[in-house]
Symmetry: D2
Subunit: 368 residues, 4 copies
């Protein structure tokens, strides 16, 4: 039983953490910190927690929070804000899982360029361990500070990892067309997020220049250069790597879209192959890459769909080889609140504390 | 650990039963029976169950089903179809929870009038126990065959029970304006249920003549005549009953509406009071009536909303006393797939087998 | 050809006015006034007007607006704000149609009680003509200032007018359960109006105490006391009035609900009848009441649905007599942006200037 | 004033044709033919047409239809079904606009391969004129039989035409990731189109192998080989063509997605450029290409969004040059029922009969 606190409890990521953690058999929730709602009773803001263990909790201010009493702190704060608060919490006894983008880059020029913010704590950033479990499981187990990946990034990387090191992919050709539910935009008051502006419509935004482009490309290139060693990545059945290719760096083009669903990301990825392949070869590649993974499922007779993963921590992936154009289409679906944020964070927590990796994460999709 | 089978696994109610039961700590799922999909692998139809305990299951035909091996069978079949199949299963060793309307009435003329179907098994119908837990808990524990209540009915009865026996309500004045998500209409292929016909619109249907009118009125009048004895119903703090009133029978007017949400029912009820009351008195009445209930929550500072219960087995209820018109407005919200169907069925199962009533039902609403 | 200006062009009501007016054959749009967007090009904010007559317009500040050049001004401003600005515009040459609640009441105590705002211009308020065409057509034609009705109010009054003066209705029994699309809440930045908070859910709000209660009741009682004389209201086929009843005043109970649709209101109304009636009698009553009305349609073989009116200025109404409980259920549907706001305003404009009443308003619902 | 009939009136395309045509100032609707609803009154099936000119119409069977009395017939029938019925109508006096895929190909092997259907009337197919106005305006004016383009195809071609002949595009690199509203799938009873299956979710379907792939590629290559001569295509400001490139053929990869909106298509296209360009050059290219077009709008400071075109016949397009990867991203949005089907058909009708091209098509998007 570990003691866990959440800083930033009233955003969507914080709500989802509370929902998952209060039912986790090895977790006792200690403090729920909120700037905007300090002093309020939790169930007065979130009536969905009536009747649960959370019924008695009040939200507290960060000033009243004593991090030393927690074994683990989740920081669920906006980018730019998190770096200072998280830095203050580091080294005060608790492990930390940060949900923001602030600690996902060791090369801070990239962060600073794409986020348009100065990083004020480079030494902390460089100690952070990137929390994409399927890529980085062993380092996560020993981390002090975990940088939980972004939702678009998780959906995209899980779809790309199996192919990029095989030598079969033209690494300069990767195009990611991603579609996200509106909860991914958070709870901030923007007129573009009003129901009347977002319902029954669809749009692209930030084509080619969205921040998550940089995170996908950065992590992909770290992976290509051998900086991660998860079991999946070492998979024995993988085709021997093409050395020339390993020298290459991936360059991705990423266009996100806002779709009128509450939760879920569907990422459609296009990769030119260097030569002929087959549907069977691609299925085998993907299946074997993830054969030991709990939360990544390769579909062969159907295609991923948000409704089959929303409410669960699973990612579903299908690949389609097009022999007409020698391209691979990879489609991945996940729940941006779960595998794309809070579910992945709980998966990281389970690794950190030696619990079974799927503890508290066994729910299947809520359908219908 | 009990062995449980589901007859009619591929409708929405069946899917939801599978979702709940495969994670229930005291349940082993034995057979999944389906007419339309017998012989198919479950995850080929419902990819959301990949990675779960259900991954290996195949659907089987009713002809291949041996009911003697199950401790409990859920029958999730259409009205009119269920009565024959369920009757065949009764007395073959397993307890049965029937999800249809076929066994909810002991007075079969009412059933036959409103359902337009002959009841071919009156002796079985009369042995069935009505499965609204908050009304009938003690009898449920000893039942052989439980008739699980309808979704509209559960939402409405839970809102009406506290007031109807107090003598304060004009029992002829009850109006129920209910709004249901589309999953309540099931999975049948009707053009009126197509996305393009149902999205971004709203309609009433069957005003005053919907079948569930009869179930609400029938159960309410049985309750008024003292035929149920749950703890809630015996609540000590209840106002002493007005004897004249007890002789009365309730007459309700019920109008359902179809709203473009996937799951959830919101029921708005209007009751004329016989005299002056106050918001405080009404709150106290409702709060005390359900004070020992796990799954019914009385809100006092906010109003029920589908998003706060969808994905959970909770019903949230608020009452609003209008002193201008001396009326009581009661608003209840529940998830039609959970407390309105499969969740309530699992609650019944827990009672039947002596498990904690909320076992496997502790999830809070999936929000956002 | 008349010159028309809009004060408050960038709210939803203003946008809808622009959409209708730029295609009206007798209208030239003169000035578009906006506080928040003065100086901006219209199509930079509303790209949907590219390619239309509105393409070249810029929004201007109220300070730069010369009302003398317009024949008609629409004021589409928030309640409380409109009264001052509209008052300043009165008497400067242009006729005015005000979309707010500020001029809908001659009895200002009612306004002040329900809106919680002082009315600073009682003399102007008392000169305003209530713009429900079907009730007040003759006075509208000669008005200087028209108070355009609220959306909930229009949907409800059109459903109630045929029955209330017949002597058949118990005027103290009227219950209105109304459901509105989210555009009815306007474009203001409230977290409760975010997509993620409003999609796939449903709630009631302000039961019994919503402002529009007072407007419905106020206008209904003015109508009962003979203060309006539209053709519809004088309909010859109407049952002779019960004198006792005419002395009565109506008391209504109104509960609005927010449903996840963009536009549209469905109002379900319940009225106790004083004696037996029949479906035929009710149909005949409603049909004859509106037989000369362009924009009110009585359905007899189907029920109103938002999708059949959204995008049009029509109201569809069905009545259902329930002989079990001697109640009348009336269901009305309209588009809150059209007949519930801007369409009705254009209808008023047509009357004011002697254009055919349906000019510019002939679109049928946009379905699918 | 021309006399127009519709064969296949009760599908979504037929409904939309009726909606547009009954308000067209030069059209008299003659016969409405329907197989499933022959003999029924139109407003009993589509209550939205009450109060309009269509109020009195009955649907008739094809057997009772005399094509000689019409000046123009729209055939709105399923692929494979249309070819026989349309062929019978050809040469009987009326011009024909066919909404199906049956007459869009002169090279029938392509049709037969992708549609999996034998073409039984090759001589008729070869006479048909492809009805993408912006590509083929002059031939359309003199056609006897017009093959109205598909919705995905219109959205994609309008986005691709400006760039493909410039020599700047790598014609083998074109990737189209398209997202369609559900009305595009028609009104057929498939469980995958039920509200509960389609709401709040998202999926890709038929990646790389959707029929519309072949239509996009086929028309694009005909255009590249100089077979169309619309004004747009001859645009003087166009970069001189790269001759090598003209010998090339385009090969496209097309992946459609189903999104939970009622109407609208958003198509996101990715093209590798052969060298460096700039945002300004691309904007200028697109703007000049369509400078004489009524219904195609190039956005430079914002991105296309379905809500800004749904309900209108406009297509909005933006292009984004990414200098990091030397790719062009083109995003187009249109209403699949209007510019993607019935609106484009009316545009074709206007050309055929010499009416102003935008007659009856001036509505701007219905927003909110």
């Amino acid at each position: 039983m570990i003691k866990v606190s959440i800083v930033g409890s009233t955003g969507y990521v914080g709500i989802e953490l509370m929902r998952l953690l209060h039912q986790h058999p090895e977790v006792e929730i200690l403090d729920l910190i909120s700037k905007s709602s300090a002093g309020e009773k939790l169930i007065d803001i979130f009536p969905q927690f009536r009747g649960s263990k959370l019924e008695k909790y009040n939200l507290i201010a960060i000033e009243d929070f004593e991090p030393e009493n927690s074994d683990l702190i989740f920081t669920a704060l906006p980018h730019g804000v998190s770096q200072d608060i998280t830095t203050e919490l580091v080294g005060r006894g608790a492990k930390i899982i940060d949900m923001s983008g602030d600690f996902r880059y060791h090369d801070l020029e990239i962060y600073e360029k794409w986020y348009g913010v100065k990083h004020r704590h480079p030494e902390i950033a460089r100690k952070a361990v990137y929390g994409l479990v399927e890529l980085n499981r062993e380092k996560i187990k020993k981390a002090e500070l975990i940088a939980n990946p972004g939702c678009y990034v998780t959906a995209s990387l899980l779809g790309l990892l199996p192919i990029v090191k095989t030598g079969m992919a033209d690494l300069s050709s990767i195009i990611i067309d991603a579609k996200s539910g509106v909860s991914g935009a958070g709870r901030s008051l923007k007129s573009s997020l009003l129901f009347t502006e977002t319902h029954n419509t669809l749009k692209a935004y930030s084509p080619a220049v969205h921040r998550h482009s940089s995170e996908i490309e950065y992590i992909l290139n770290k992976y290509l250069s051998g900086r991660y060693n998860s079991k999946s990545a070492e998979n024995k059945k993988m085709k021997s790597n093409n050395l020339n290719n390993l020298n290459n760096t991936a360059e991705i083009l990423f266009t996100p879209h806002l779709v009128p669903v509450k939760r879920g990301i569907l990422s459609t990825m296009y990769i030119n192959l260097n030569g002929k392949s087959s549907q069977e070869e691609m299925n085998e590649l993907y299946r074997s890459f993830y054969e030991n993974e709990n939360f990544v499922q390769i579909l062969e007779n159907e295609l991923p769909e948000i409704k089959n993963v929303a409410g669960s921590n699973y990612t579903q992936i299908a690949c389609k080889y097009d022999d007409r154009t020698d391209r691979l289409i990879v489609i991945s679906a996940l729940d941006n609140m779960l595998k794309g944020a809070s579910g992945q964070a709980v998966q990281n927590m389970n690794l950190l504390f030696g619990f079974p990796e799927d503890m508290g994460l066994k729910s299947t999709a809520l359908f219908p």
